[in-house]
């Protein structure tokens, strides 16, 4: 018993320990983890936003630079109309001088052409002399600049007659009602070199795409001119940035639309490079937070362990104390029992001693008593009855202490009660004007019981009821049942009991009856029998009204 109890306690504390640890860990670390996640999320957002903004800013500044570059080239061209040596039919040498001047300003100029209002290139200087006198009136750029209000036009990059990627800037001027054009071409390679020189950031690539989404100027790492771009920027937004997944890597691309032409400047940067420092910082912070979390967990675990150990010790101590208390209570009840036995046995002993003294006196010639044999026999009978009274007590005691397994068979409580009452007892009770009232439950189910033992219980209670009734009265026996229980109630119209008496009635040797009538063991024995069947005895009593003893027995499944 003791060892299983201890095992249960150990198991209980083991569970308590894990429960407490989990609960504390959850309580302490969940908010902390939440905070960590929130921090990470915010941090991510923040660096994303920052990265995006800085990339957009970069693209805008590069766009401005390129716009400025293009504007400068346009102005360079316009200036040619206002030179002192300008003439409507330039000689080749004239054109060479003009190109040379232009190239002094910027070496991105490849060639220079002068076109009349019909679109014929009447003057040309540059590496492609066969373009002299070529007519461009069918070219879309020529048609566009002729019709549009704006004085200049910048083409997309195209191959053109020379079959080499280039783009052209054309400006127009009206002289004496006729339109004249200066046209120059620029090579994208040089443009790309220019973009590279204005890029300083690590891993940053700048490139240009046209409105149709084809590369205009692009580095060899990213793509080839005229290919479709990996990202076609939104035309409605002057500048923006998006995140792209490419071959498992994330890249950020910012765009900015040029003002001078229908090109967008793209700046792309891989995430891994973009946030390398940030990621390092985040890793350090996360690691530190993780270490703190582990320290938390260890502290919680240690504290819980110590707490549980304390509690375990306390329980062990209190268990020891409880054991001692139970032992003390047992000793006390043994003391009570001995006092009761002493009283019950001393009384018949006193009778035996006194009566044997009487006989001694009879036989003593000193007193000269005259006596008959009958007198002697009467005294001896008194001694005998005292001896049997003592014997009765000892056999009752044996019954009280006996631990025999009851002989359980299914039986009906109604017929069991009838078996006890019918015949002798009922007639005997009628003589003293006590009548039985039976209120039986006709559907009472059979229950497992020991017929002899239960009969003894019923007999005990009926005898108690009779002894409680002074004068005429009734004993009512009621049986009833629920799904689980059978109830037998024995109610008398006797004297009833006080609360003090009620507290003691199941104690051994407690009796309210006259000497020799009760041993004070009947109710104790009855209770032990009923409890051995898994039942209970309840008592209700009121002084001057009567008492009810309620036996409740469980209905066992008859297997």
């Amino acid at each position: 018993m003791k060892s299983t109890h201890k095992v249960d306690i150990n198991l209980y504390f083991k569970r308590l320990r894990s429960k407490l640890t989990i609960a504390l860990l959850t309580a302490f670390t969940l908010p902390y983890l939440g905070l960590m996640i929130f921090f990470n999320y915010q941090f991510n957002n923040f660096i994303n936003e920052t990265g995006k903004l800085s990339l957009i800013a970069l693209s805008e500044s590069q766009r401005n630079t390129i716009d400025l570059f293009l504007q400068e080239r346009v102005i360079n061209l316009f200036n040619l109309f206002h030179r002192a040596d300008f003439c409507k039919e330039p000689h080749k040498n004239n054109m060479e001088v003009l190109l040379k001047n232009l190239r002094q300003v910027s070496d991105t100029f490849i060639d220079l052409g002068f076109l009349d209002s019909k679109g014929t290139q009447v003057g040309y200087a540059g590496p492609y002399p066969h373009l002299q006198n070529r007519n461009y009136s069918n070219q879309s750029w020529f048609q566009t600049i002729t019709k549009q209000k704006q004085d200049y036009h910048i083409t997309d990059i195209y191959l053109g007659f020379r079959n080499k990627p280039h783009f052209a800037i054309t400006v127009k001027q009206e002289i004496d009602g006729q339109l004249y054009f200066f046209r120059t071409t620029l090579e994208p390679d040089q443009f790309y070199n220019f973009l590279r020189t204005i890029n300083q950031e690590k891993g940053v690539e700048s490139l240009l795409v046209n409105a149709s989404g084809f590369y205009q100027v692009v580095g060899p790492n990213v793509g080839k001119p005229f290919d479709t771009a990996e990202y076609i920027p939104n035309k409605d937004k002057a500048s923006d940035a998006v995140e792209l997944k490419k071959n498992g890597d994330s890249i950020m691309i910012a765009h900015s639309w040029l003002k001078e032409t229908q090109w967008a400047l793209l700046v792309r940067q891989p995430y891994s490079l973009m946030y390398a420092d940030m990621q390092k910082t985040r890793l350090v912070i996360t690691t530190l937070l993780g270490i703190v979390l582990v320290i938390f967990a260890v502290i919680i675990w240690l504290t819980t362990s110590r707490l549980i150990d304390y509690a375990k010790n306390a329980v062990a101590k209190s268990n020891d104390m409880r054991m001692q208390l139970v032992h003390a209570t047992k000793l006390a009840s043994i003391g009570e029992l001995s006092a009761g036995i002493a009283h019950e046995i001393n009384n018949p002993l006193a009778i035996i001693v006194a009566t044997s003294g009487v006989i001694r006196d009879m036989l003593n010639p000193e007193f000269g008593l005259s006596w008959e044999t009958q007198d002697l026999i009467s005294e001896l009978d008194t001694i005998n009855s005292a001896v049997f009274r003592a014997k009765n007590i000892t056999s009752m005691l044996l019954d009280y202490g006996r631990k025999n397994e009851p002989n359980l068979i299914p039986g009906n409580v109604n017929s069991l009660v009838d078996g006890v009452i019918n015949g002798l007892i009922e007639r005997e009770f009628k003589v003293v004007d006590i009548h039985f009232i039976r209120q039986y439950d006709p559907d009472l189910p059979n229950i497992l019981l020991d017929v002899d033992e239960m009969s003894q219980v019923i007999l005990n209670l009926i005898n108690n009821a009779r002894d409680a009734i002074k004068g005429p009265g009734t004993i009512t026996i009621t049986t009833e049942h629920t799904a689980e229980k059978v109830k037998v109630t024995i109610t008398d119209t006797g004297t009833g009991m006080s609360i003090d008496q009620l507290k003691k009635i199941f104690n051994p040797f407690y009796t309210t009856k006259e000497v020799g009538k009760g041993t004070g063991l009947g109710l104790g024995i009855s209770l032990s029998i009923v409890e051995s069947l898994g039942g209970t005895i309840d008592v209700q009593s009121m002084l001057g009204v009567g008492s009810s003893f309620i036996i409740t027995l469980p209905i066992h499944q008859e297997n």
Partner: protein, 147 residues
């Protein structure tokens, strides 16, 4: 003169046997089986010594003793107890019981206690009588002097 003893106990067999033994030893014995009967007997005739059982149904020995002590304070009471309730008996002695005796008893012990109780009572009564005589004498003397 024979000593008049009142035996109070609910154990009839016991008390009747005890009464027989005391009678042959020249005690005048009356037996009653409860507290109320004892008080009735006392109101009917005087007794020299009372032997009173502590544990009785109905009016128990303690209640009965208190009643006797109040009504007849000069009659010595020997408390008679069935089991080792010495504590109760001693309490009663503090309240004025003469002595106590535990069942089962040696008859000679009981007789000794009864005789002792009677002797003390007789001595007390005689002192009381002589003081009454003295006071009578002085009264007469004062009267004779015409005071």
């Amino acid at each position: 003169m024979a000593i008049k003893v009142l035996l109070v106990d609910d154990e009839k067999d016991y008390i009747l046997a005890l009464a027989k033994r005391l009678k042959v030893r020249d005690f005048l014995v009356t037996t009653v089986f409860g507290g109320d009967e004892a008080l009735n007997a006392l109101s009917a005739e005087p007794f020299d010594v009372i032997v009173l059982d502590v544990l009785m149904p109905g009016k128990n020995g303690i209640v009965t003793f208190d009643e006797i002590n109040r009504r007849y304070p000069t009659i010595p009471v020997i408390m008679h107890t069935g089991h080792a309730k010495v504590g109760t008996a001693i309490q009663e002695m503090k309240k004025g019981a003469f002595d106590y005796i535990i069942k089962p008893i040696e008859l000679d012990d009981l007789i000794e206690k009864i005789n002792l109780a009677h002797a003390q009572r007789t001595a007390f009564n005689q002192r009381k009588k002589s003081s009454e005589k003295k006071s009578n004498f002085f009264t007469k003397w004062f009267h004779s002097k015409g005071l």
